[in-house]
């Protein structure tokens, strides 16, 4: 049981008042306060806790995006991760990037780093996709424990208590596995100033998606509006989706 990969996403801070750009092309991000996605913080905390309990040896924090995401990786390092990986994606590619792309990157990294666990936040607070964890597990063909509110390592298995619509569900899955963190999993620690200082010495490796064999995100196609449900069904049949 050696290595855990934790994904951290840099998002607009939850307390910021979001403003739409004048040209309606998106939200204002320039000069706006960004921070680590709260669910990613919970994921990092869980990984660091597992390391403190000696279930794992090394926690690697991963983030995909432009240069600024290194701040987020550093926060993860200050919370106790051992090293970081920055997968560089910038500009238009970054804007077009979505869960499918990210999960391909994570799947490739999980194999490359021989991770036993990939822990992600259940969703990001900017796009609320709630897809990356599930897609990553599917691409790796690994079991998944999503919406985790409690994680216990039991030998070669992981017991996960999941928060689902009906209440709580407990499952036992084998490792390697993908977990996604829900709100009540833990309370993330505050990065202390001495830890931030120590984090400066920890390494962050740089790479590009291509280095992992992952291609460019496809150009996003325009959507089409239809008038009725029948039209929708017809269109979906026509392009082979159903």
């Amino acid at each position: 049981m050696s290595r855990v990969l934790v994904g951290v996403k840099r998002v607009i801070d939850y307390a910021v008042k979001i403003r739409v750009k004048p040209d309606h092309s998106g939200v204002v991000t320039d000069g706006v306060k960004h921070s680590m996605n709260p669910f990613c913080e919970i994921a990092v905390e869980e990984a660091v806790k597992l390391k403190e309990k000696k279930f794992i040896k090394e926690v690697v924090a991963v983030s995909c995006g432009p240069t600024q995401v290194t701040e987020t990786i550093r926060t993860a390092l200050a919370m106790g991760c051992d090293r970081g990986i920055h997968v560089e994606v910038s500009g238009k590619d970054y804007e077009a990037m979505g869960p499918l792309q990210i999960s391909k990157i994570f799947a490739a990294l999980a194999k490359k780093e021989e991770a036993s666990l990939v822990i992600l936040g259940k969703q990001a607070i900017d796009d609320d996709c709630n897809q990356t964890g599930q897609m990553t597990a599917a691409l790796l063909d690994w079991p998944q424990g999503t919406f985790a509110s409690e994680v216990t390592i039991d030998g070669e298995k992981v017991k996960v208590v999941r928060e689902i619509d009906g209440g709580l569900e407990t499952i036992k899955i084998s490792m390697p596995a993908v977990l996604t963190a829900d709100l009540r999993l833990n309370t993330p620690r505050y990065a202390t100033l001495p830890n931030i200082m120590k984090a400066k010495k920890k390494k962050i490796a740089n790479m590009k998606p291509a280095d992992l064999g992952v291609d460019e995100p496809p150009t996003r196609l325009a959507g089409v509006k239809v008038e009725t449900v029948d039209d929708l069904v017809a269109k979906l049949k026509a392009n082979g989706t159903i």
Binding site: S35, A78, Y190
Partner: protein, 624 residues
């Protein structure tokens, strides 16, 4: 020969039309302890105008034969301002002293510290408990908040003054009670060890102080010695074995007095004066551990504000202090005290600029949402004026804080007047801003739950102490400048072209200020130190002038760098300069006017009558 070693530009000489008839007049200026920061600033600067003897540490009653020391060319803007000169080197351009690594490091520190103060620290709880909650103290210690400026190799965070200012700003924004607890510990409590401690002392004490395992306190004030710090009576006598000093005395108003383990204590010692062969009392600074025995403290004082900060009396009864624990030189304690206070003073401006920022946010939030008479109240002129004044005061304070921290980080040793200015300005501005916020918020503003700092703003740092040195030197009369004469002084090239009008106001103000200072010195000579009505107006003008220059510098930088906020800052700057100029000119005019002199006389008389009567004098209008 003019003002001794003051360097004169040719332009200045011509403009002043130095007349040989006035040369050679010399006066001795005796120093006296000054009463408060305002007077300290103006008297300190007054020193600079004259040739001065090396500032001694003895109380000044002697008019020693003037041994004219070379007055070192001062880089301080404020010092030169008193001479009616402009030395822009420390004010233009606005200092930008952090390298990339320091900036990046600071950027990483700000979010966790902010988060802690937003989510964990509970100011209301601390206030009602009249102490900082234990769990919060623990978290602050883990966070490293107790050793921000201790070098990293001794267990601290190793921050520069600018980095420290930025973090202290966050503390000030949320909880000044915590701010004082932290400040009393590291800004003054153990600052002496950082500044003048021996390597052995640093190694012994700093690591535990940095982690907060031990807390520190600064012990100077006594019941009979506040502003007049040189008159302290706590006594240190060498023990017969010669290995200890025995400390006896009591200190009051000591922040962290009830919590500290390590005390920086100032005591007097009789010492042989080599020159006269007489015994003299000189002050020595000591590092005193509570564990030495004989150190006790009183109950926490009940204060009207910053209640979470512990303030207590500390008593020393036959405390044996090893001779290795002398801090700095034996007999050099006064200088150590001054160095500590001067060094930590900018922290107040930084903290209070954060306080004002937080308070303004509250006021703006209220004004933007409250509807009266059918409109949001921020549409009414009276509210707009309040918000604008609050914003300007915060802008000036913040600009001062970071200009001074920038100067200090660049290695300047010449910042003490500016630091004093920033401290008074910040304290008074913060009171005014908070009061105006309460006004904007109406009844809600006065409620504890409104989340206001209310009376928790305090002038927390001691007033700087009167300089006990001797002023000696020459003063010669200068021909008075008539208005409109160009002195050759200019800020062109330093100030952004869009601000040139405000820059000219500053230059004119400096010219008039310089003349006024000389006039006052001519009129009163050495007795000026007793003319506090005059000194107050001189000091107020000095503060306003420095404030003008500071915002000119900052707004110029924003304009040159094309910040999004540059036009807004330009308006802040111009408005401040117009009003400050008016205040300065009024002070200058008052100081020349005979009716103001009459006002001073009247005020003195009123005060005397009221003091003699033990209260107001006029009988009640109702007759009973």
């Amino acid at each position: 020969m003019l003002l001794g070693k003051v360097s004169l530009t040719p332009a200045l000489c011509t403009a002043l039309r130095i007349s040989p008839a006035f040369s050679g007049i010399q006066k001795q200026i005796g120093a006296a302890a000054t009463q408060n920061a305002r007077l300290y600033a103006s008297s300190q600067a007054a020193e600079a105008v004259l040739d001065k003897q090396a500032v001694g540490t003895t109380t000044a009653t002697k008019a020693a034969t003037a041994k004219k020391a070379q007055s070192v060319e001062s880089q301080s803007f404020a010092v030169n301002m008193f001479k009616g000169q402009i030395n822009p080197s420390q004010v233009f351009p606005f200092p930008s002293v952090m390298n990339e690594e320091q900036t990046q490091f600071l950027q990483e520190l700000v979010p966790p510290v902010s988060k802690f103060f937003e989510e964990v620290n509970d100011p209301a709880k601390n206030d009602s408990l009249e102490k900082v909650e234990d769990s919060t103290m623990e978290s602050l210690k883990e966070m490293g908040a107790f050793g921000l400026q201790v070098p990293q190799d001794l267990g601290g965070v190793g921050l520069t003054n600018t980095q420290y200012a930025r973090l202290v700003e966050i503390v000030g924004q949320h909880d000044l009670g915590v701010g004082i607890t932290l400040g009393a510990h590291q800004s003054i409590g153990f600052k002496g060890i950082l500044l003048v401690g021996s390597p052995a002392q640093k190694e012994k004490y700093l690591p535990k102080l940095a982690t907060g395992e031990t807390l520190a306190a600064f012990c100077l004030t006594e019941p009979a010695s506040g502003s007049d710090a040189a008159s302290i009576k706590t006594l240190a006598t060498l023990s017969p074995c010669g290995k200890h000093y025995i400390l006896n005395g009591g200190k009051i108003w000591i922040s962290n007095g009830g919590l500290a383990e390590i005390f920086t204590v100032f005591a007097k010692m009789p010492m042989m004066d080599e020159k006269t062969g007489q015994m003299k009392d000189k002050i020595t600074a000591f590092i005193v551990e509570r564990s030495f025995g004989g150190v006790t403290h009183g109950p926490p004082e009940k204060k009207m504000g910053i209640k979470a900060s512990n303030t207590a009396e500390v008593y020393f009864e036959n405390v044996p202090v090893p001779i290795e624990n002398v801090l700095g030189e034996v007999g050099g304690g006064f200088k150590v005290a001054m160095a500590i206070l001067n060094n930590g003073r900018f922290g107040m401006a930084a903290a209070l600029s954060g306080t004002m920022k937080g308070v303004i946010t509250q006021a703006v939030d209220h004004a933007a949402n409250r509807v009266q008479f059918g409109s949001k109240i921020h549409t009414y002129g009276a509210i707009q004026e309040k918000l604008a004044r609050m914003t300007m005061l915060q802008y000036v304070t913040e600009s001062m804080a970071y200009m001074i921290s920038g100067n200090m980080d660049s290695g300047s040793k010449d910042y003490h007047i500016e630091a004093a200015i920033s401290k008074i300005f910040a304290s008074e501005a913060a009171w005014e801003v908070t009061d105006e916020c309460i006004q904007v918020m109406g009844g809600m503003g006065f409620m504890k739950d409104a989340g206001k700092h209310l009376k928790s703003l305090q002038k927390a740092l001691k007033n700087p102490l009167g300089n006990a040195g001797l002023l000696a030197g020459e003063i010669t009369k200068r021909a008075k400048r008539t208005a409109g004469l160009s002195t050759g002084l200019t800020l062109q090239g330093s100030v952004h072209p869009e601000l040139s009008h405000s820059g000219n106001l500053a230059v004119k103000a400096i010219e008039h200020f310089g003349v006024t200072v000389e006039d006052m010195l001519l009129k009163y000579g050495k007795n000026i130190l007793h003319e506090q009505f005059v000194l107050k107006r001189v000091a107020d003008s000095a503060i306003d002038l420095y404030a003008m220059v500071v915002v000119l510098s900052r707004a110029s930088r924003s304009l040159s760098q094309g910040h999004a906020s540059a036009q807004h800052e330009k308006i802040l700057c111009e408005t401040w300069c117009i009003e400050a100029y008016d205040r300065i000119m009024k002070n200058v005019k008052d100081l020349k006017s005979s009716s103001t002199t009459q006002v001073f006389k009247n005020m003195k008389a009123i005060s005397a009558a009221v003091v003699e009567n033990g209260g107001i004098v006029a009988p009640h209008p109702l007759g009973f």
